[in-house]
Structure formats: C-alpha cells, structure tokens
Symmetry: C2
Subunit: 113 residues, 2 copies
C-alpha cells in the first residue's frame, strides 16, 4: 500500500497538461510514441521525456512491437483521477453553518465576509 506522500508525488507527476492528454489518450487504448507526437504536436524527444517520467512512476508501461513501443496505462488510480477531472461540478461546497472545530475559534461571531 502506497504512502500518502507517494500518492501526492504521483499526483504532481500527473498534473501537467501534456501528461494529462497522454493519459487521457491511453485511456482509449494502446498508443505509440509517434502517435502522440502527431496528436500533441510536440517534439518526439519531449514526448519521450514525458513518457519516461510516467514510466518511472509506474503510471504507464509498454510492450514492443517491432520498433514501436506500445504504451498502455498501468496504475489503476489514473482512470479515477481522469474521471474526477472531467466531472462537472455545479455548486460550491456549502459554507460551514456553524462552529469551527478550531480550538481558538469562538464562533458564532460576526461574519465579516
């Protein structure tokens, strides 16, 4: 079981516009590097660098097919993260009705804001 620290680290690795697009694309199926190169319109070395990072953190893996590397999703947290990321949220969370849990708060008091 992964520590909370490791999970946050993973979140940081994933929280990048290009890498999110890569992962979202992998959600649909296996893809090779040159597919991403085209799809993302970024340089091949840069695609490889992002994939390398994702591999390093166990987020993706690949198999070889001739000289292609076919990448696929490996970490099961990824589909869940992508789902939350795409979900629509209509409202803000309800403001707390009463009484901070803080030891110092003396609510109810004036709400100045």
């Amino acid at each position: 079981m992964r520590s909370i620290g490791k999970r946050v680290e993973l979140l940081r690795v994933v929280a990048h516009p290009v890498r999110i697009r890569i992962l979202d694309e992998l959600l649909k199926g296996v893809k090779c590097v040159s597919d991403f190169e085209e799809f993302l319109s970024i340089s091949q070395p840069n695609v490889s660098q992002h994939l390398s990072l994702l591999r390093q953190y166990g987020v993706v893996d690949y198999y070889m097919d001739g000289r292609l590397r076919c990448y696929f999703l490996k970490d099961p947290i990824i589909p869940d993260i992508l789902e939350v990321l795409k979900k629509d949220y209509m409202e803000e969370l309800p403001a707390p009705a009463c009484c901070p849990v803080t030891k110092k708060g003396t609510y109810p008091g004036e709400r100045r804001r």
Copy 2:
C-alpha cells in the same frame, strides 16, 4: 464550466504535500491559520502562503471571527480528489489483450517486454 486546462492547473496547485494536508484537515471542519501552524509544524508565513495560493485558485475561502480567519473548503472537486487519493488499489490495470489502436502498430507481434 471550467476548462480542462484550468482543471489541470488546479490539480497542480493541490498536488503539494503541505497543501494536501491542509485540505484534508479542512475536510473535517473549519480551521484557522494558527491551528495549521501547529498541526503542520511549519512557520506561520508559510501556512499563509499556502492558504493564499489556495484562495487564489478558489479552492478555499474564509470568514472572519475576531482576528481569526476561519478557513473552509469551497471547491467541490476537493473532496473527490482526496477520496481518490486515499482509495486503495490492489492491482495494476490489466495489460491490453490485443491490438493497439495506433495507426502504426501491427500487433499481434512478439511481446518483448
């Protein structure tokens, strides 16, 4: 409705060990700055800096109670992110059984890895 770019940005803001702990604590209820200072054992200015960033991105808000600032969660995506982050995942995702969706792949071929 928030763009996907904004969502990824938000994810990046959230993907920090201290800020995750702050948010996880706010999940339990309202807290003020000095509570965090104690709980996180980091300096007051640093707590304020993290809270400032979270405010800037609409993740949290606060009300004033005397000279205390009582912070609370505002963005509804946060509980969902925290839930995914805490969830236990037992297995890796199943490796793709067949046939890359890539235009270049010629699978089935030898799986070298």
